[in-house]
Amino acid sequence: MDNEAAFARALLDAEAAVPEWIEGRDGGGAERRFSVYRNNVYASLVDVLAGRFPVSAKLVGDVFFRAMARIYVAKTPPDSAVLLRYGGGFADFVAGFPPATPVPYLADVMRLEWAWHGAYHSADAEPLPQEALAAFGPRAERLALTLHPSLRLVRSDYPVVTIWELAARDGEDEPVRLPAEGEDALVLRPALEVEVRRLPEGGAVFIQALQDGATLPEAAARASSSSPTFDLVASLAGLMRSGAIVGMGESA
């Protein structure tokens, strides 16, 4: 193992010995100073995660969230120098983290926050104006849609959008009836601000199919196969209204 790899390993593993070629002041051991370095690495990465998942951190409290994040950092250090990309696997980790099982919706709230983060930093694109949509209308049966690059879907067995909204505005004490059903979310940044919307039954299957390149009739067929109550008009109107459509064309 070369020096750099040994140094990196010792940084992330508190049990690991400090490489013996590192000298402290006056040629003595470097244990204490290396621990300061180690702690700074952890603290900065935990800060990154706490900043990336602010609503989730509120839901379980800062102490629990940071302790959980610290374990994740130890297991999954960043694999890119770009910290914007750090944290994509955190929700999956939390889903399998036993101490978090009393909060079963936490992982989905984190997936929603990760989608929000991805949408925020995705490429800009101009939604098609209504006139352009109208011009394509007569050929709709042969068309595939190009959806906005910021578009993300989050599907949940829990009312994840409602939970996220309430926690985000500190509304935990508001009298509210949580929906018994799960919610699917559409996350999109049509202009400067990220928007989170609830999708109707079958909406997520429909949009996923379109994202995969299906034509409108194919996507509609998949959605109504999965949800008998799928409403094509409402789902199309939702896509148009939210600015999710940035291009249309005949499928190859």
């Binding site: 109208a134 209308g137 709709a140 400067l192 601000e193 009739p217 067929a221 008009v233």
Partner: protein, 102 residues
């Protein structure tokens, strides 16, 4: 149980598309009603939307109230007329006032 994929006719899709468009056209707010613009120098500390530059890198990171190089989205047209303490005004471009110490 047999898995049956429903088919949707092209005619149905064309008419659904037209119906969706008419819903959207009907419900669309009057132009410019809900537009927003970036407004510098009006956000309270930590409540800015985003900005680049020394002292503030992104959303929620401005250090002081009404920081001149951080911005917030506000309804279009309200930026420069917004009333702020001590005779300050917002601006659609970054301001030199109220910068955090380097």
């Amino acid at each position: 149980m047999t898995y049956q994929t429903k088919t949707i006719s092209g005619v149905a899709v064309v008419s659904a598309f037209a119906a969706a468009l008419s819903i959207v056209a009907f419900a669309a707010p009057a132009a410019a009603e809900d537009e927003q613009e970036k407004c510098y120098g009006v956000a309270k500390a930590g409540e800015n939307d985003c900005a680049a530059g020394p002292g503030t890198t992104c959303a929620g990171t401005s250090k002081i109230d009404y920081q001149g190089n951080s911005w917030k989205l506000v309804p279009k047209g309200s930026c420069e007329t917004m009333e702020l303490p001590d005779g300050r005004n917002g601006s659609p471009t970054a301001l030199e006032r109220d910068r955090p110490p380097a």
